[in-house]
């Protein structure tokens, strides 16, 4: 079978190259996730704050990030931040060379920012859905703010935010394909290289689509399991 040969592992086929691309895709998503979640919690905390300044900052951040194409965010980080660091280095040391941000770091930061903007809204919704009486009860028995968050709010927020975060995770996985545009050798980029060498575009892009599809279906299944587990203490309505 001719098609099978192109996808085989080893010197003649592209199977091992595609697998390494898949590794980069997955590791990029896994690195972006904690960045995005941390940012999301910070944004959510700022937008439920009683002071207006953090609230306004959070509002502007989420509106901007959610209004920009992910590709544009990626370019702003990749070119913009790279240039900014170069200029700062030049300012301190005029002989410093041109600093180029690695595509992986730029991709992780950009995808983290996007995830942070969207998850901030999801987490804020979950935070505000909690019963205020619980917070008051915790204060009445002398818990401090951190304890209230860690022991009472956080576990419940996870349950409420899980469906939204699950969707964002799937989106994040799909958005990793964009980093191929800034020349990071992820799954998508490897497929383009393979197409250039073999002139079989349909075969490789279809394979890549199927790989993404399988990954998404797998994680959808995982998220459904997690939701089931998170809701095990809740009476079905």
């Amino acid at each position: 079978m001719e098609w099978f040969e192109y996808l085989s592992f080893g010197d003649s086929g592209w199977g091992d190259e595609l697998a390494s691309g898949l590794g980069i895709t997955l590791s990029l998503a896994l690195v972006s996730l904690p960045i995005g979640l941390a940012l999301g919690f910070a944004v959510a905390a700022a937008s439920v704050s009683e002071r207006p300044v953090p609230r306004i900052i959070a509002f502007f951040f989420t509106t901007t990030i959610r209004g920009l194409p992910e590709l544009l965010t990626l370019f702003i980080i990749y070119h913009g931040v790279g240039l900014l660091i170069s200029k700062t280095l030049k300012w301190f040391n005029p002989e410093a060379g041109f600093f180029e941000l690695s595509p992986f770091v730029a991709g992780a930061v950009a995808l983290g920012l996007v995830f942070g903007g969207y998850s901030g809204e999801v987490l804020r919704g979950a935070w505000q859905a909690l019963d205020k009486g619980q917070q008051e009860a915790a204060q009445a028995i002398g818990m401090n703010r951190l304890q209230i968050f860690r022991l009472i709010e956080f576990p419940q927020m996870l349950r409420l935010a899980l469906p939204g975060l699950g969707n964002l995770w799937i989106n994040l996985l799909k958005d990793t394909a964009l980093v191929s545009v800034i020349a990071l050798s992820d799954l998508m980029r490897i497929a383009s290289v393979a197409v250039g060498a073999t002139k079989k575009p349909f075969l490789f892009f279809l394979t890549v689509c199927l790989i993404y599809w399988v990954i998404c279906i797998f994680f959808e299944w995982c998220i459904a399991k997690m939701e089931k587990r998170a809701n095990r203490g809740i009476r079905a309505s």
């Binding site: 209004g67 194409p69 590709l71 544009l72 370019f75 575009p201 599809w213």
Partner: protein
């Protein structure tokens, strides 16, 4: 920063027209296709249900960029066959390929949204229609569809915004939308401010769209606000201002 705007501003605006055009056409095609497919998807016949399920799952489970490459570059593998069928002019053009991909992608998303909307129509309303002797077509026309679109409206707006932003990847297959012009200008000037102007254009488009969509939603759901306005008047107020109210009317 402003110098750049004077030199390249018109190009960015050309790009904005292209972006709006791509989004509008593909979302409209998807809007037309999604409704019949959503209704078919709800039928109990697995011959209808499963192909549509697979279609939705595929287009929602793969990156738009991969879909675009599959259509635009992938069609090149079948060039002789497509030329024979007289379809090559279509797949050769990146504009048509982008339209086709975006329309297919948006159809999948809109279909799911409409399916949710159809499901959320209270069954009592349909039963009431049946009790009045309405035929199936009239049921859809007068009861199910107006309510479905009212429920689905905010989600459809979100999907249109996602399409608008997702459309930026058309620049990767050499289309000159906002993103395409921006990348070209950046490669000529190495001035990052062009990205900020592009960001501003996208933010203005999305903000205006959100406001317009909210107005439309308010118009579609005006019967609900009407009730809320009435409830605000307490019985005491209502009786005490009865005279004045009748004078005004």
């Amino acid at each position: 920063m402003f110098e750049l705007l004077i030199n390249y501003g018109p190009k960015l605006l050309d790009g904005a027209v292209m972006t709006l055009q791509l989004t509008f056409i593909s979302v409209s095609i998807a809007g037309l296709l999604s409704l019949p497919l959503a209704i078919l998807r709800r039928s109990k016949n697995i011959l209808w249900q499963w192909p549509i399920r697979l279609y939705v799952s595929f287009f929602r489970g793969t990156p738009l960029l991969a879909q675009l490459f599959l259509v635009y570059y992938g069609s090149g593998q079948f060039r002789p066959e497509l030329t024979e069928l007289g379809l090559w002019w279509f797949f050769r053009d990146p504009y048509y390929c982008a339209l086709l991909t975006f329309a297919l992608n948006s159809t999948a998303y809109q279909l799911e949204i409409l399916r949710g909307g159809l499901q959320a129509v209270p069954y009592g309303e349909v039963e009431a229609g049946v009790a009045l002797g309405m035929p199936r077509r009239l049921l859809y026309q007068k009861i199910i569809l107006p309510h479905t679109y009212r429920i689905a409206f905010p989600a459809l707006g979100n999907e249109i915004i996602l399409m608008l932003k997702g459309g930026a990847i058309a620049s990767v297959i050499t289309l000159l939308d906002v993103m395409g012009h921006t990348r070209r200008v950046f490669s000529q000037t190495f001035d990052i401010s062009v990205y900020l102007w592009a960001a501003l254009i996208y933010l203005v488009i999305t903000t205006v769209f959100v406001l317009v969509w909210r107005l439309l939603e308010r118009r579609l759901t005006r019967h609900m606000f009407y009730q809320r306005d009435i409830k605000r008047i307490t019985p005491v107020e209502a009786t005490s201002t009865k005279m004045e109210a009748s004078n005004v009317n």
